[in-house]
Symmetry: C2
Subunit: 317 residues, 2 copies
């Protein structure tokens, strides 16, 4: 972690970031020393890290650097949400070529951190060919009920998603379409989809509510419902039958299944009434039932048809 | 954070990494879910993140991907050492172009983590144009004596370094020289310097001992002694007079002052006898006295001459 006082460059940018952020409580040290010093609450700690690279995870011809920064924060916080945890602190490592507007990129990081109430406590800036942002998050979760893992779903558990899916993928499609038709203003529905792609929200409140409502397994929809639900099924040793997949207005069923970039949560829970009342008690919209876990671990079915996992992964050789 | 079960690519590489690592204690979850679940000890938590980019922080024509991975871990752990803390868990985000030997890179990460006794608990892999490794570390430190910050040095405090400096820079110079003279084998002294560059060690034990020995300010020598000691002086509002800067065998005084890449610790402490006896009690070589902190915050002197800060930082604009 780096910080200091020289004018211009890395130290000045971190200093400007520090001054736009709230300061630490007494006894803690945030940006400005070798490492941040923080006091974590009781319970279990959660740790996660995610990398966002321009040209791979987002196209800077379609979104601005502050959107890339926002998305990098939301993606990492979404992993904490998927455990049912609370995100308490984040550190950011950012890099880019000399022309990068690093202040703008970090403004997006700061806006997302503030919006999700998770303070930035440290950072490192570097040169790199491609704009790259890595957000690492520390969170916490109670011992009882503990974190919601991927592997706890049982046959008979009901499956839920926190909202209709596909808005992120539809937003990306809209951005690509409007980029090639610059004179046609997007419709207001399209603006909503684009916002879902540019500024996704991690479902931290929903994840914690699902945990308290007895969720047995949970994951965030980052690679697409079919792929992410496949991870849950594999880890839990169950199959699933979906009877209803809610599609966001303006998105397609294909985008809902395979698009990813939604950061809604999908979870399994044995007692639907308990889920509905827990979400209601917390002032949240009821999660949407989509199907059921089955004992046949080879079964991955939607509307009677077998699904192929439609997600993707990076490959090296 | 990403994990799963598909064959080949990202998930298979993370799976292989997971299987070569020790498993978590009961009640913890390491690589394989949305976030790692760990139990942190009492006291204060420390957090840091650092990015290493091939072509910027290390040249893959001179070192191998596993060296880049090792160095990325050491650089981040060194920030925990500089607080006097214990490194308890790390997460790694790694990226590179399709031809990258990601297994080899992660082998270096795993070797460094094992060697420093800090387990890898999570990871994320991505595509990118340049090989990039970001290591984020969680550590802990007692409340009393608490973490050693940069800003606690007082006039009259003595300054120490944990070992002679310049080996990292001299190792890099040696690599560059031997790359252009491939038929001349390096001397054994040169092999030692190259090793210091390829596989630096974070001085975690020394940092914790310095903290218990009353260190008032501490930093790791990553950008060069002059620059890093300048950060301590600025943060503490003191000056310094150096009378002896120990130079590693085979390195130059210039490399000791400005080279960086050493990851030794420099610290201020009021009581030299207490420092010597604490390091002796812990079975460590005595740290080397290099000078004293002074009340004149403009004073940055070596052997009677004023120093210019010789470090560097990344710039954007």
């Amino acid at each position: 972690m780096t910080a200091g006082g020289a004018a211009g460059g890395e130290f000045a940018i971190l200093d400007r970031l520090r001054h736009r952020l709230p300061g630490p409580p007494a006894g803690e040290v945030w940006i400005g020393d070798d490492a941040a010093v923080v006091r974590l609450g009781p319970g279990l700690a959660l740790l996660t890290t995610d990398m966002s690279v321009a040209g791979i995870h987002a196209d800077l011809a379609l979104v601005d650097p502050d959107d890339l920064g926002w998305r990098a924060v939301a993606v990492s916080l979404s992993d904490i949400a998927a455990m049912g945890g609370t995100a308490t602190h984040l550190v950011v490592a950012a890099a880019g070529p000399p022309a990068t507007d690093m202040d703008l990129l970090l403004a997006g990081v700061a806006e997302a951190a503030e919006s999700h109430r998770c303070p930035i406590v440290g950072g490192d800036l570097s040169a790199a060919e491609a704009v790259t942002v890595v957000v690492s998050v520390v969170g916490r979760v109670d011992d009882e009920p503990g974190p919601v893992l991927r592997g706890g779903a049982r046959a008979g558990d009901r499956l839920f998603v926190t909202a209709p899916l596909g808005a992120g993928a539809a937003g990306l499609r809209t951005l690509r379409e409007t980029a090639s038709e610059a004179d046609r203003p997007p419709s207001s529905a399209a603006v909503h989809l684009v916002e879902a792609y540019r500024r996704p929200r991690a479902r931290l409140v929903e994840g914690a509510t699902a945990r308290r409502a007895g969720a047995t397994a949970m994951i965030d929809v980052s690679d697409g419902l079919a792929a992410d639900l496949g991870h849950v099924a594999s880890a839990s040793g169950v199959g699933f039958r979906l009877d209803h997949v809610p599609v966001a207005a303006g998105a397609t069923l294909e985008e809902a299944f395979g698009g990813g970039d939604d950061y809604e949560l999908v979870f399994a829970a044995p007692d639907p009434d308990r889920v509905t009342s827990a979400f209601g008690d917390d002032g949240l919209a009821a999660p949407i039932p989509i199907g059921v876990c089955t004992a046949d671990r080879g079964e991955r079915r939607y509307d009677g048809e077998m699904l192929e996992a439609r997600g993707w992964e990076h490959r090296w050789g």
